[in-house]
């Protein structure tokens, strides 16, 4: 079972990419978390360029989601909302509607910010967008506040947050497993 991790932040030292690194170590085996590294290559959504000839960056995003059993999104918060590049990627992934690659796909959203609220609004908005897209949104959140001090090695410094993240991953993998059961 494969969980695709998508970080909504592009910068090299991203707290949210690091958060996905922590998550990768908490995924219940034999499931594995694979980081999507092509977010920056996804061009601005343009319906004129969609369809069979969709740009490579958008195609690779769709293919990566399609190949995954579940998706874990870690989002920062820009101006109280979703980072533009992440929203743009979700817009590509949502097409064609309703039979897109995210339809019924289990997705959980977590987030880190340097502020005191841990990207909680951005997480809520990503969940709302995913619901409209038709994804199976796991009803959880993980607000990692004060991100510059939140990590200790490959763990979250706050043990309760670390346990919460483990529970989220277990729930996400379980949702993906349920889906396989239904398909069988």
């Amino acid at each position: 079972m494969r969980v695709l991790g998508i970080s909504g932040s592009l910068r090299r030292e991203s707290h949210n990419t690091r958060l996905l690194g922590v998550a990768a170590k908490l995924v219940p085996p034999p499931a594995e978390l694979e980081l999507f590294e092509g977010l920056k290559d996804v061009p601005p959504y343009d319906e004129d360029e969609d369809g069979d000839l969709a740009p490579g960056g958008a195609r690779r995003l769709r293919e990566a989601i399609a190949a995954a059993d579940a998706v874990l999104i870690a989002t920062p918060e820009y101006n109280s909302s979703i980072p533009g590049q992440l929203k743009n990627a979700l817009d590509w992934a949502s097409r064609p509607f309703p039979d897109n690659v995210l339809r019924n796909k289990p997705v959980a959203v977590i987030g880190a910010s340097t502020g005191s609220f841990g990207a909680v609004w951005a997480q809520a908005e990503v969940r709302k967008v995913l619901g409209s897209i038709g994804a199976r949104v796991v009803d959880v959140e993980l607000p990692v506040a004060g991100a510059e001090e939140a990590f200790g090695g490959n763990r979250l410094a706050d043990e309760e947050l670390q346990r919460q993240l483990a529970r989220i991953l277990a729930e996400l993998v379980e949702a993906a497993g349920d889906r396989h059961t239904i398909a069988a």
Partner: protein, 188 residues
């Protein structure tokens, strides 16, 4: 004649007839109505469903099943959203079912108490309406009509999606009226 039979007779000219009766899919409808944008009434229908009324022993039972993915609305994008986990989640919960626990007359109406299951959640509901017939059909069979409706709170069944409106209020009400208009044919 019992009180229930007397009241039913007064309403429709008949009691719940004996025999097994199956819904005619062409001449039966199942649907819902919900307030939209505070002021409007939005309706949708289901095209794939079946209802059986069985009354062999004087204790009539009504049961039915609806394919949730047969919901019909006039916008394919909206239909896609209705089938998704935000609403009916048809991948996990393909059927809506109803099984009566009692059929009675009350205040001139037919009342069907029963267990309604939507999105995997079962709750007791009270549907009210009327029953009419039987009448002879041209093919030599018999037909009855049943019309029922019941209010439900969709959020109690896990259909919780909503969106706030700029001027206050929300896009879709929680209370939904479920309605069936059934024409049932007697099984030989």
């Amino acid at each position: 004649m019992t009180t229930v039979q007397a009241e039913t007779t007064a309403l429709t000219g008949t009691t719940v007839p004996t025999g097994t009766w199956k819904s005619d899919p062409v001449h039966s409808q199942a649907g819902f109505a919900v307030k939209h944008m505070v002021v409007g009434t939005f309706r949708g229908t289901f095209t794939d469903f079946g209802v059986t009324l069985a009354n062999q022993d004087g204790e009539p039972r009504l049961y039915g099943a609806v394919r949730a993915d047969s919901v019909q609305v006039r916008d394919e994008n909206l239909k896609g959203h209705l089938l998704s986990p935000d609403f009916f989640d048809t991948e996990r919960y393909p059927e809506i079912t109803f099984t009566s626990t009692g059929i009675r007359a009350d205040d001139g109406e037919l009342v069907v108490d029963g267990d309604l299951t939507i999105k995997g959640t079962t709750r007791s509901v009270e549907a009210r309406g009327q029953i009419s017939g039987p009448v002879a059909d041209p093919a030599g069979g018999e037909r009855i009509g049943i019309d029922l409706e019941t209010p439900v709170d969709r959020t109690q069944f896990g259909l919780k999606w909503n969106a706030p409106l700029p001027s206050g209020g929300v896009a879709v009400a929680n209370q939904v009226t479920l309605t069936v208009h059934l024409e049932l044919a007697k099984e030989e």
